[in-house]
């Protein structure tokens, strides 16, 4: 009993010292190897009020994504393209460090811009597929992500939840009549969305000069730098996001790129399994 108490105390008072006992042995306090990501659990389509939904858990980090579809008038510059509006929120319930909604505004914006850049600039989705009638009606997808638990690496969980939710969106068949009123066709078919490619992320951090894969929030706080690499299933780099922190060498970067690439297939399979299970 006594030994247990002092380990907890050391963890609170000297977290870096605590980690330094583990890292040289090649292991982390939660039992993982330095290069092992947490177990990923993906579940699709559990929300009945949303047109598409997904819940992704990476260890203790979880993100839920709900997609609602509405009809709107397309932009003049792109009359055949639908729209995608993304919002990411870290509510106060996800972490003891966030006590008010205003505390996480910067993080929310950062995650939103990162994910939106990946979705729109790498053409994950064909926005033309969301067109109902040229220049008069298109679908707009409101993609809302809530990070329910924040134990490090929210970006990976958020992006995976968005991708899985997009793959199980079911848009009802609609028709536009002469007065430009859109109505759902009774007993019509549902339209699913096809993704052009699957950008799969993996986050890393450097703690005490050691490379850790998929850091927890404790590890993120102690690290000298954190970065995320996103590769798609075609082997193309969709994003390399290292906003700052300590400098790294090229060989570490190469190693991380390889690790991310090796994982893409496994995650895409998990997503497809989640969608199959929903059916």
């Amino acid at each position: 009993m006594k030994l247990e108490a002092s380990a907890d105390v050391i963890r609170k008072l000297h977290p870096l010292e605590f980690y330094k006992r583990f890292l040289p042995e090649g292991i982390r306090p939660d039992g993982r190897n330095l290069n092992k990501p947490r177990v990923t659990v993906i579940s699709a389509g559990s929300l009945t009020t949303a047109e598409g939904s997904a819940l992704v858990k990476l260890g203790s980090t979880s993100a839920i994504c709900g997609i609602k579809a509405e009809v709107t008038i397309p932009a003049d510059t792109e009359p055949q393209c639908g729209k995608l509006v993304l919002s990411v929120e870290l509510p106060p319930l996800c972490s003891p460090n966030i006590q008010r909604w205003t505390d996480s505004v910067e993080q929310n914006s950062s995650l939103e811009v990162q994910i939106e850049d990946i979705l729109l600039k790498t053409n994950v989705l064909n926005l033309e597929a969301l067109c109902i009638k040229d220049s008069s009606a298109v679908w707009v997808l409101y993609v809302d992500v809530y990070i329910l638990e924040h134990d490090g690496n929210c970006f990976d969980a958020a992006l995976l939840s968005v991708l899985t939710a997009l793959t199980n969106v079911k848009l009802p068949e609609v028709e536009v009549n002469e007065e430009q009123i859109v109505s759902i066709v009774e007993g019509g078919s549902t339209q699913s969305l096809e993704l052009n490619h699957y950008p799969i992320p993996l986050s890393f951090c450097i703690l005490d000069d050691k490379l850790l894969v998929d850091p927890t929030s404790e590890e993120e706080e102690l690290s000298s730098t954190c970065f995320t690499i996103v590769y798609n299933n075609r082997g193309e780099l969709c994003s390399l996001y290292k906003p700052g922190g300590k400098h790294i060498n090229d060989d570490i970067l190469e190693e991380c790129k390889q690790t991310t690439l090796n994982r893409t297939e496994h995650i895409v399979k998990l997503m497809k399994q989640a969608n199959e299970a929903k059916k």
């Binding site: 839920i64 319930l93 996800c94 003891p96 008010r100």
Partner: protein
Amino acid sequence: MSKIEFISPEGLRVDGRRPQEVRKINYRLNLFSRADGSAYYEQGNTRVLAAVYGPRQVTRRGASKHDRAIINCEYSMATFSTGERRKSAKRDRRSTEISVVIRQTFESVILTHLYPRTQIDIFMQVLQADGGTRCACINAASLALIDAGIPMRDFVVSCAAGMIDGVALTDLNYIEDSAGGPDLPLAILPKQNKICLLQMDSKLTIEQYEEVMQMAVEGCKQIHAVLDAKLKDVTDQLVNKRKTLL
């Protein structure tokens, strides 16, 4: 009143329940590792999450009380929780009102004098709304507080009741709620038989009010029975685990 038949000739409601029947309840405790207490609660199609942080340091230094803990409640609905997408306004009036109401409910029940100069945060997130969200949130918050081990005077259970076409109904779902009849959310302390929250909108005659109130109390008691039964199992398991550790 409307085209939907709220009560069928056999006395069944839209979803097949009897007028005094509460929807199916399911819940899980201790979901979040980072929160001091957490609960996931389902009542029919209404799904909510509650997380409790505390007692911990007060965020606004001026607000701390020297003789007790301050309770901070935040109720929020996810934008995809309702049929029509809600504009993401965290500070909209309805959420603020419900947060205040829930805070007042728990302020009277939690033994705040045990934790002076601290703050207890209760966060509730509605993932799917199908009527009775404030009641579901109160139940979820009670469970989360129990999971956090924060001492309370009693369990707080909550249920809503209403009246449609002259029939009193317990635990209205969204369709019944939108019918425009009166809605009476109620929260009681079952062992002490005390009311800690009572709201009502629309109008009722005094006799109808007595009837609906009784339905709500019965509904609360039903919910309490369900919650309590499973809680005893959960606590037994925890106690057994502790015994094996020691």
